[in-house]
């Protein structure tokens, strides 16, 4: 009797876990971390900021299951992280080192701006620089819980199965970064991490 119960658990638990899975796989290709170094050493850079276009390219692959499921959809967002476990205030960059007296303010997190774009402008925030206020803030690129918009439609919120090889303009996102520090912050080296999160809609 006990062995039958164990068998039942083994069969049911994975089945329950899989109950809401509609896609076969979701992934960034390739998935290599990107490091961007911005050095401000002239007055004009402080005043005008530094913009680097296409610091990273997100290439997406969302596969259907062997038997296609019409509910296979995905969402994509970005989340900022300043290593709060290290004692960084939620609205500041993480300090790696400081120059000079170190008595000035630490850079506020909102001076980092991120822009996402692709040829079909599939994201509602396409082409517009966005900023964050606090560590852990999330900005949607393709939001969760949207109805299905199939690949190939070249419209907003494409979120069905597809990949950058078949539909480059919908499954590729270029990431631009801009930082304009101004003169309010203490000189030093600071760091932030932006995590792009791709997930199947449940």
């Amino acid at each position: 009797m006990n062995s039958k119960l164990i068998l039942l658990i083994f069969v049911l638990v994975p089945s329950l876990m899989k109950a809401q899975v509609h896609c076969g796989a979701v992934s960034f290709e390739p998935n290599v971390p990107v490091a961007v170094n911005l050095t401000f050493d002239s007055f004009s850079q402080y005043e005008a900021g530094i913009t680097i276009n296409n610091v990273a390219t997100l290439r997406l692959r969302v596969e259907d299951q062997a038997i296609p499921d019409p509910d296979c959809k995905w969402f994509l967002h970005m989340e900022v992280d300043n290593n709060p476990g290290g004692g960084t205030s939620s609205d500041e960059w993480e300090t790696l080192t400081t120059y000079g007296s170190g008595t000035g303010n630490k850079p506020s997190l909102d001076i980092l701006q991120i822009r996402v774009r692709n040829n079909c402008q599939t994201s509602p925030i396409d082409g517009i620089f966005q900023n964050f206020s606090n560590s852990g803030d999330i900005l949607d690129i393709i939001a969760d819980l949207l109805p299905l918009t199939t690949a190939g439609s070249c419209t907003t919120n494409v979120n069905g199965p597809g990949n950058y090889q078949g539909n480059y303009s919908e499954y590729t996102f270029s990431i631009d970064v801009r930082v304009r520090p101004g003169y309010d912050f203490n000189p030093g080296v600071y760091e932030l991490n932006v995590r792009f999160h791709l997930e199947e809609q449940m």
Binding site: L7, V21, L38, F40, E47, T103, G104, V177, V189, N193
Partner: protein, 258 residues
């Protein structure tokens, strides 16, 4: 029965593995290196000459208007001050005597204090609320002949670059690190982005030397303006400046608020 259990375990594992593929993440790490930029642009003749060869020039002095223009660009909170220096030929706080005229009368004093040079800044120091001395900056008008004033006397500190104290004069900002803009520093910025006809990042400086008659330089004073350093006060009654050629230099120092 064992085979069945093993098969089910394998199936469960495969299912779990396939679930792991339904999320993926990619990181972009942004490192920002904010290097301090303190830039002082100065327009001034290589040498400013004061030639006293008329009696009225001794009485009223010679003024060189806007002889030096200072333009500041800084990415950090800053202070700006002037300090009088020399090669120390006659002592650390005196002009260097290059040549002397006349017969070396015992009352003719060759040690002219560096503080006899007067400066006037057109733009007041708007970062000196915490100053404690009688003169926070060099913005006051040059005093008329016959009315000695220490208000424009150049800051000197033993021939060194040591910054002025809270009692002394700064051109911009002041001693201390209160963290309150306007109290003892001017915030980062640049003359390049200023509008209007005045700016805390742009200073036109006038120079004046007034020997007086006899030539005792009545406006020479110590750093905080509390005591005069004219030739008679620092020597003896009847003393006067020995005729000759003298040189010194003014060093302008722009530094992070301190």
């Amino acid at each position: 029965m064992k085979k069945v259990i093993l098969t089910l375990i394998a199936l469960a594992g495969i299912t779990a593995i396939s679930n792991a593929q339904l999320i993926d993440e990619k990181d972009v790490t942004v490192t920002m290196d904010l290097q301090p930029v303190l830039q002082l642009d100065m327009s001034t003749p290589n040498q400013i000459e004061f030639v006293f060869d008329e009696i009225n020039e001794y009485y009223s002095g010679i003024t060189q208007y806007a002889a030096t223009i200072l333009k500041v660009s800084s990415t950090v909170s800053w202070d700006l001050y002037a300090v009088g220096r020399s090669n120390g030929t006659n002592g650390a706080e005196f002009w260097d005597q290059q040549i002397d005229y006349g017969n070396d009368n015992p009352n003719a004093v060759p040690n002219l204090p560096l503080s006899l040079l007067e400066i006037r800044q057109a733009q007041p120091n708007n970062g000196s609320n915490a100053a404690t001395g009688p003169f926070a900056d060099y913005n006051q008008a040059f005093s008329p002949s016959g009315t000695p004033s220490a208000g424009n006397s150049l800051y000197v500190n033993g021939g060194t670059l040591t910054p002025p104290s809270g009692d002394d004069k700064y051109i911009g900002g002041h001693a201390g690190t209160s963290g309150i803009a306007g109290d003892d520093f001017l915030p980062g910025g640049s003359y390049l982005t200023q509008t209007g006809n005045t700016s805390d990042y742009y200073y036109a400086l006038d120079y004046r030397i007034m020997p007086g008659l006899p030539a005792i330089f009545p406006n020479a004073a110590d750093a905080d303006g509390g005591a005069f350093e004219d030739i008679v006060t620092t020597n003896a009654a009847g003393s006067y400046a020995e005729p000759g050629v003298y040189t010194m230099y003014v060093q302008y120092v722009l530094l992070e608020d301190q």
